[in-house]
């Protein structure tokens, strides 16, 4: 009964979305303002209906109704309740429904928050948004119905893939989707601007908070995914250049380029066509990220469902949305004339350079992700592109980009003076060079890479601090005056500074985790120990643990760190009988200097327990850096733009 209700609600969503898209278009064509009110109302109705359908599916999982196909395939009565709920989106159908919930949620938020936007623009945006909703509601209903029944219904379900029974999964996909889907709003605005043939600084100001919101969610989502891989998959791999990971990185790169060029458009009313194109690209890559994974074009450990029929449907949707938008762009791009001009040395040109680097990075990752598939499609050869490719291409490119970060932040709009810039940044240059030399000298491996990584990180970090110092004139005037200056800096500027600081932390953490990691493995009997990097890891004992839905061998370890402090680590290996799958629950002793990471395997008669120990220096800073990075995004979202406008008027002529 509940399943049928859910299905019915989903059908209603499709109807309302089609109706709204059609009515809005018709209303605009016949210039009838009556549709403008309906657009807002319709957006909210769509959201309420989808939320209802999602609640219905959640109910089916909560009560373990195995007559519903998705529940039978992905749940089990013995599963902990919390994973019954998160299991709602741990499968193809449910996660697609979540995707649509997010989509309508964003549309409803837009309805609520866009009172000040010109009616024509907002109605067009709603029309595009509804069209996207309609396409995906149809996709759900016709190829991935989450409410399909199973007859005869089994006594118990197949259980959720145990790898997905983890708090990481509870939060990773919703965050990622909130990011992907958030870019639908900027896409819809971009299409609306193209149809209207007008995009200006005002447009950029309206779009900016949406772009930043999506970007922030996507950043958090990717970080959660990385931490899930680090803790749960058991080989300490926080990033593996897996096609599915790349699929989330691609829209992130495009989105990052987009928020930077959006800033240029807002401030200087230029780079318009490029910014619009980036808006289209970002959502296109988000779509590709979500759906190519599911279509069978991309196969990987992550792929949930492979079904050619779905693939055709998805491809049709992608063709319609992306192809349509790019065709529109082809015809209309020329109507977007820039009014601002800028010199070679200016913030605009430095952000353009930023964008070129990002575009190149997108190209590289795109090539690395899809070229192997292309090769297998056209020939019998198989080919893998992995970390070495990205280390040789992507990393140097990013390194060059990072060099430009502090410079760009300090440059004045329109025309900047290099001399002044170098003077402000000279402490950062000295700090970076010193740090680089120290890193090369201290590093246990790869001194050059270490020096480059740490030097760049310190360069970006110290550059941000120099930037802040020059903005607040700290050490130039008295302290109270500097504080007042700091307090009156627009939140957008704070957002930039904080994000770039997070980036600096990430650069150093990534260097630590990937360049300085150490590992060793050995068979241990209880009482035996191994040492690595000055730390001693002793296996104390192994006990068997029986839980409702899994049993486990739990190893207890004593770790004596190089400094002498002692800690306990619990690492276990779980067996989930329903799926017949093993998972490795790594044990980690974390502190700010680095993680001691231990995994335990199946015992071998006469030799003991295979124990694998890794040292990941600075691993915690990956997560701290990600938090700082997203915090910067959040600060920038809170900047309503008006404040910066009035601040600029009151302090005219001064570089911001």
């Amino acid at each position: 009964m509940i399943a049928e209700l859910g299905q019915f609600l989903l059908i209603l969503v499709l109807c309302v979305a089609v109706l709204q898209a059609g009515l809005s278009a018709a209303g605009l064509y016949f210039k009838d303002p009556a549709v403008f009110g309906f657009a807002r109302m319709g957006a909210i109705v769509q959201f309420v209906l989808t939320l209802g359908a999602f609640a219905a599916l959640t109910w089916l999982f909560a009560v373990s109704d195995f007559s519903a196909l998705v529940v039978a395939e992905n749940s089990h009565t013995d599963k902990p309740f919390i994973y019954k709920i998160t299991g709602v989106w741990g499968n193809h159908e449910g996660s697609m429904l979540l995707w649509v919930v997010m989509l309508t949620g964003y549309t409803a938020a837009l309805a609520w928050a866009s009172k000040a936007v010109a009616p024509r623009l907002i109605t067009l945006t709603f029309a595009v948004q509804s069209a996207i909703t309609a396409l995906f509601a149809a996709f759900l209903l016709f190829t991935s119905n989450p409410f399909a029944r199973l007859w005869p219904s089994p006594v118990d379900g197949r259980d959720l893939n145990p790898l997905l029974q983890d708090p990481g999964l509870a939060s990773h996909p919703p965050m990622l989707y909130a990011g992907y889907v958030g870019f639908s709003i900027t896409f819809a605005f971009a299409v609306a601007a193209l149809i209207e043939g007008r995009a200006d600084a005002r447009w950029a100001r309206i779009v900016r908070p949406w772009a930043l919101t999506a970007w922030t969610f996507l950043t958090i989502g990717i970080a959660l995914g990385a931490s899930w891989a680090y803790y749960e998959l058991g080989w300490g791999g926080w990033w593996a250049w897996d096609p599915v990971e790349n699929a989330s990185l691609l829209p992130w790169l495009a989105g990052t380029a987009f928020i930077h060029s959006l800033r240029v458009m807002e401030k200087r009313d230029t780079l318009k066509a490029w910014t619009i194109l980036l808006a289209l690209f970002t959502f296109s890559l988000s779509l590709a990220g979500t759906f190519l994974v599911r279509s069978g074009v991309l196969t990987s450990v992550h792929a949930f469902a492979v079904d050619p029929e779905r693939g055709v449907f998805i491809l049709a949707i992608l063709l319609g949305l992306i192809g349509g938008a790019l065709t529109l762009f082809g015809f209309r791009a020329n109507t977007l004339r820039p009014t601002g001009t800028f010199a070679m040395v200016s913030r605009e040109s430095s952000l353009l350079v930023n964008n070129i680097f990002f575009a190149a990075a997108i190209g590289l990752v795109f090539y690395g992700t899809f070229y192997p598939l292309f090769i297998t499609t056209v020939s019998d050869e198989t080919l893998t592109i992995g970390a070495p490719f990205y280390n040789a291409t992507f990393n140097p490119l990013m390194g060059l980009l990072f060099l430009a970060v502090p410079i760009s932040g300090l440059m004045a709009w329109k025309r900047a003076k290099l001399g002044q810039l170098l003077k402000t940044l000279s402490p950062a240059v000295i700090a970076a060079l010193t740090a680089g030399f120290i890193a090369a000298w201290m590093a246990n491996a790869q001194p050059v890479t270490s020096a480059l990584g740490v030097g760049l990180g310190i360069w970006v970090g110290a550059g941000v601090l120099s930037d802040l110092r020059s903005r607040t004139k700290l050490f130039e005037t008295d302290f109270a005056a500097s504080m007042r200056r700091a307090a009156s800096l627009p939140l957008g500027i704070w957002g930039m500074l904080v994000s770039h600081l997070g980036l600096a932390v990430l650069i150093i953490a990534i260097t630590g985790v990937s360049v300085w990691k150490q590992e060793t493995r050995a068979f241990l009997e209880p009482g035996q120990a191994i040492t690595l990097g000055g730390h001693t890891i002793t296996l104390v004992d192994v006990v068997r643990l029986d839980e409702d839905n899994f049993n486990a061998a739990v190893g207890r370890f004593d770790v004596t760190r190089a400094g002498g402090s002692e800690h306990e680590i619990i690492a276990s290996r779980r067996f989930y009988p329903v799926r017949g799958m093993y998972t490795t629950e790594s044990g980690i002793d974390a502190n700010l200097a680095g993680d001691v990471y231990v995994t335990i395997g199946d015992p071998v008669e006469g030799r003991g327990w295979p124990v694998h120990v890794y040292l990941y220096p600075l691993a915690v800073w990956l997560w701290i850096g990600s938090v700082i990075l997203s915090l910067g995004g959040l600060l920038a979202i809170l900047d309503r733009g008006r404040r910066s406008l009035s601040a600029r008027k009151s302090s005219k002529g001064q570089a911001t």
Binding site: G157, G296, V297, V312, L315, R332, N334
Partner: protein, 177 residues
């Protein structure tokens, strides 16, 4: 000229779309078996509880056969089961099976309840044999020729359509050759 530039993204996308289309045309469940036309992996499995005969690679030689991977824990296997019963009754081709990662006794109880279409069944509790075959999920079915070579791999449920249009013609062709 400028007008032309604005269409470059569209042209690039069109190129990509064509390629994705080609990617889709490949049946993802039909490919990555490295085993096609290779002899079946060497294995020797115990019988499942309650049966006398186990299964080894040698049992699959001499005749065209199907080898089905199933498990009592697998709902799609239950969906597939009536079709397997029908194939067994038709006598077109004998079906051998490997009970994959099942609890001791669960496979036999399942066959007791739903009927047994299989000639012999091997018990692959550790899942090693399934790994050797490159099985990614149950059910999966292999067509094996007289010389004991894998000739085809079907991933997922054997429906009436799959049987009539793919497996049966292949079995008949192999029997004639």
């Amino acid at each position: 000229m400028n007008r032309f530039f604005a269409f470059i993204p569209l042209i690039a996308f069109a190129g990509m779309a064509v390629y994705f289309w080609m990617g889709l045309r490949q049946d993802p469940s039909a490919i990555p078996s490295q085993l096609i036309d290779e002899p079946v992996p060497v294995f020797e499995l115990e019988p499942i509880r309650g049966f006398d005969q186990g299964l080894s690679h040698a049992d699959l030689e001499g005749e065209v056969v199907l080898l089905n991977f199933f498990g009592s824990w697998c709902p799609p296997c239950l969906i597939e089961h009536p079709m397997l019963m029908q194939i067994a009754r038709s006598g077109e081709v004998p079906i051998y099976a490997i009970d994959w990662k099942d609890e001791p006794g669960a496979g036999a109880a399942w066959l007791e309840r739903h009927g047994n279409p299989f000639v012999r069944i091997g018990d692959d509790q550790s899942g090693r044999t399934a790994i050797d075959f490159g099985v990614t999920g149950a059910p999966e079915t292999f067509v094996i020729d007289r010389e004991g070579r894998v000739r085809y791999r079907h991933v997922g449920v054997i429906t009436e359509e799959v049987w009539q249009e793919t497996l049966l013609p292949m079995v008949e062709a192999l029997k004639r050759s």
